[in-house]
């Protein structure tokens, strides 16, 4: 029960088209998409989960593209790796912070395999991309037996390890609006070691007159700090104003405790990283 490292029996398929992938996911009970596997394979080694069928998305080239929509929005295929985000001129042009954050996820080896789709579908509370995408106002395109649908971050993230991607569904794409003039993003976190697991994180998107804030590590889904957003709407983002707006944020949260951060400490950290992220985004927006 405690021993790890070796997977249970599993079946494996490597479809050549998105449609075939969706068919396979729908046809087999307990089927699960295998993207980069940088979480899933570990969980399977621990035998904490054992899907019966793995549908490897590796050959689905259409999920590997990074593109720009007509309105400039950034379209990220679900199988785009963190390393590809780091190197992409499109990402750097549309939402540069995304590349910066991707460069701090785990380590180089994981960045070479881990994917955008895997990161958000796992939705571990400590993951980088869920709060970041929530703050950026991303939409998620899901292909299922009934066709394609797009959902917002609020609709996408349902709980720890739970998203709107249900059995038989496949996340194909994440779409992120391009930064408008006078807008900027920032993400701040406290990690276990440099570039380590987040103990607290806050992603912020500042646009003229508005601030979107999503907090990681405090709940099963990225938590929008809506009260802080409202207090800051239209306000000048000075250190004093931001501090005042963030004050009391921790008391509204119900974060978990673990060996690295008791709940109260996590509340405090979340206030600090929230404040810092808003100020960092404001500075960038000016710059």
């Amino acid at each position: 029960m405690i021993k790890r490292m070796l997977l249970r029996e599993v079946e494996y398929a490597r479809p050549e088209s998105v449609e075939e992938a969706v068919r396979l996911l729908g046809a087999h009970d307990g089927a699960r998409a295998l993207a980069g596997g940088q979480t899933l394979v570990n969980v399977m080694k621990a035998r904490a989960a054992s899907p019966e069928v793995l549908v490897d998305l590796a050959d689905l080239d259409e999920l590997r593209t990074i593109g720009r929509a007509a309105d400039g929005a950034l379209e990220l295929g679900a199988m785009v790796t963190y390393s590809e985000l780091v190197r992409s001129p499109d990402v750097t042009a549309a939402r540069p912070l995304l590349a910066e954050v991707a460069a701090t996820i785990a380590d180089r080896q994981v960045q070479n395999r881990g994917t955008v789709g895997g990161n958000v579908c796992v939705n571990d509370p400590t993951n980088h991309l869920p709060p970041l995408f929530a703050a950026m106002g991303a939409t998620f395109t899901i292909l299922g037996p009934g066709g394609e649908r797009s959902v917002t971050a609020e609709e996408f993230f349902l709980g720890v390890y739970m998203t709107a991607v249900s059995e038989g569904d496949l996340l194909t794409r994440v779409t992120i609006p391009a930064l408008a003039a006078g807008s900027a993003d920032a993400m701040e976190g406290i990690t276990l070691g440099v570039h380590g697991t987040y103990l607290a994180s806050a992603a912020v998107a500042v646009s003229p007159g508005a601030v979107r804030i999503a907090l990681g590590c405090v709940a099963g889904v990225p938590e929008r700090a809506t009260a802080v957003e409202q207090r800051l709407a239209g306000a000048e983002l000075t250190p004093e104003n931001v501090r005042a707006a963030v004050a009391g944020l921790g008391d509204t949260l119900d974060p978990p405790s673990d060996v690295h951060a008791p709940a109260d400490y996590r509340r405090r950290l979340t206030e600090v990283v929230c404040e810092r992220a808003v100020l960092a985004a404001a500075t960038r927006a000016k710059g």
């Binding site: 790890r4 490292m5 070796l6 997977l7 249970r8 029996e9 599993v10 079946e11 494996y12 398929a13 490597r14 479809p15 050549e16 075939e20 396979l24 087999h28 089927a31 295998l34 596997g37 940088q38 394979v41 570990n42 399977m44 080694k45 621990a46 069928v53 793995l54 549908v55 490897d56 590796a58 390393s83 460069a103 785990a106 380590d107 180089r108 080896q109 994981v110 070479n112 395999r113 440099v194 570039h195």
Partner: protein, 163 residues
């Protein structure tokens, strides 16, 4: 068509040799390399993908072979520590620098370190100290404290880049 099955015949090029083997779907790439092909230079030091001892190059990128199924490597080209030295046994500048700078003690993390560092220097021949550290972040060493490893990688970069 690709229907699910619990094993597959895969074809993988490793250090220039192509291996075609039937492998269970659940077999980890690292066990395929170590147990099935007997290339035991690639090591295992953890269960969670943290330590990097199993790092190999897959199509030119450093990856952790314990976080991949062997079937996922079908069609790929892999390089392991055994593939670093030339056929006539000449070591790479990085391998020599590891010795010269005492960048290893027990040597257990060394293969993974070398694969990460080799990949770094291929992509970035003159890395800064910070870039070296960042490239090695996914490889744990419990003997050296990393300082000599970082020094060795920088020295090898200098040697290779020297006019």
């Amino acid at each position: 068509m690709s229907e699910p099955s619990d094993s597959r015949t895969i074809s993988v090029e490793i250090n220039g040799t192509t291996f075609e083997r039937e492998v269970a779907a659940r077999r980890l790439l690292v066990h395929f390399i170590r147990d099935d092909l007997d290339l035991t230079g690639t090591h295992i030091g953890c269960d969670t993908g943290n330590c990097g001892a199993c790092t190999v190059q897959l199509d030119g990128l450093a990856v952790k072979s314990c976080m991949m199924l062997a079937v996922q490597a079908d069609g790929a080209s892999i390089r392991t520590v055994e593939g670093l030295a030339s056929d006539d046994g000449e070591l790479t500048p990085l391998q020599r620098a590891f010795t010269a700078h005492h960048a290893l003690q027990c040597g257990y993390c060394t293969p993974g370190m070398l694969m990460s560092a080799t990949t770094l220097l291929e992509q970035n021949p003159r890395p800064s100290e910070h870039e070296v550290r960042a490239a090695l972040q996914g490889n744990i060493c419990r003997c050296t404290g990393y300082w000599n490893i970082i020094e060795a990688v920088q020295a090898a970069a200098e040697e290779v880049s020297a006019p």
